[in-house]
Amino acid sequence: MCAKWYLGTGAQNDVVINTSIHLARNLKTCPFPARLNLPEKLKVNSIIKGAADSIQDYSFNYAEMKTLSQAEVVSLAERHLVSPEFASSRDGRALLLTEDESVSIMLNEEDHIRLQVMYAGFALDEAYRTASIIEKELSSKLDFAFDDRLGYLTQDPTALGTGMKASVVLHLPALVSTSQITKLITTVSKLGLSLRGSYGEGAAAKGDLFRLSNTITLGISERAAIENLKSIALQIAAQERSAREELFKAPVTEDRIYRAYGVLKYARLIDTSEFMDLISLVRLGAVKGIINMDCAQIEALMIHMQPATISLSVDRPLDRTERDKLRAKLVRQTL
């Protein structure tokens, strides 16, 4: 098995966990997914799969969602490889996925094609470059729905234009604990961007992980949207760093980090929510050099400890207590 993208270490990784670029595209000659019946959807899947298979530098595994178990599909959503919406209804939908999981293409989600490129750390330019290469390859085989005035046409008219959503996932424990996050969310929304919990919403975001994305897709080029996102992301990262410095002036911060580490190291039962709260503190400590742990290791743990993903590591369904027990055991082993 080849190394997954999240096992790498990226730039700015004290704050920026990962970067993703999404592109929405539709075939010109087929009705949008909501207008297709099952055989038509399967036909669209096979047309796009054919085009993806001809791309030389990338090889994709193809899976019809119907052939996967519920836990497998939810795990894909927990790993952010498919959307929760995609996981909720599996008929006629399929996924193209590279071995390292850095490139995924959802077929027949809200649009015929939802291409996603995901890299560790702060890598907007690299992720966009990869996404454009794959998009170009696909467009040399497929005729995309496009209009000179409106750009790429999508099923949802609010998404048309570039059809691009660029995101960075930020770890913002200091901005959360100093209560600056709510104000930041409001400010960012005025700048044509959105900041929301990566797992869970608003101030209740699990693990203090937030996704910063562009929301404007028309009247702005992909390049300009990315530059805008980049500059805001770097400003937020700088704010988080200075908030961390303030936070570490109080001895209680170090104490909380060690306590979190202690609980993770010795707990016998731990649920997702508690795990995410504690691992967030541990990550803060690891970045500071207090805790001797690699960030990539922590990120991998955050992904592997989600409920459905953890159930997949054993070959049978687990009840809640069994899952919490297994989670505690796996966390102990890693720490």
Binding site: H80, F146, D148, Q155, A159, E201, L218
Partner: protein, 166 residues
């Protein structure tokens, strides 16, 4: 705050919707938000809830009962306004003028500035030929979709009239 739907969990999704000047607040926990179809960050291209968009679309209509349907996929503007979803690429061309006010409201400006596909140069201006319409008409009759057939017949007549005037 407690979720309005299950009255059990803490609400983590707080939303203010303003529809035709009336504000309504929604507070939901993440489970209920998901089950009620409010997408999460991943699916958040644009607004993400069709109904809200639908209300925006229909608010631009002056009650004009126009039952024209897209000849490519058969969807009417009323149906688009209902679920907020376009039926196919051709819908944008067929309903362009009626969509424009809403697109302006959503996107602010409507001129596209992004990259173009290699085979560019197509436009949403109506580009359906008489033959295509006639084919669609006979298919609709075969399927006994008389509503679509009637709409197609009107469009064919219109095209023929325009052609005759030239």
């Amino acid at each position: 705050m407690i979720c309005q739907n299950c009255n059990k969990n803490d609400a983590t999704l707080h939303m203010k919707r303003i529809i035709n000047g009336r504000a309504a607040e929604v507070h939901l926990c993440s489970d209920c938000a998901r089950s009620l179809g409010y997408g999460e960050a991943f699916s958040g291209f644009g607004l993400g809830f069709g109904h809200l968009l639908g209300e925006l679309l229909s608010s631009n209509e002056n009650g004009s009962a126009n039952s024209m349907r897209c000849p490519a996929c058969g969807k009417s503007f009323e149906e688009i306004a209902e679920d907020g979803k376009m039926g196919c690429a051709e819908c944008y061309a067929v309903f362009y003028d009626r969509l424009l006010p809403t697109l302006n409201k959503i996107h602010g400006k409507t001129s596209y500035m992004g990259t173009k596909p290699q085979t560019s140069g197509n436009s949403a201006a109506p580009s359906i030929s008489l033959d295509e319409l006639k084919n669609a008409l006979s298919e609709a009759i075969e399927r006994q979709d008389f509503e679509l057939a009637a709409s197609l017949r009107d469009q064919i007549n219109e095209l023929v009239r325009e052609g005759g005037a030239l």
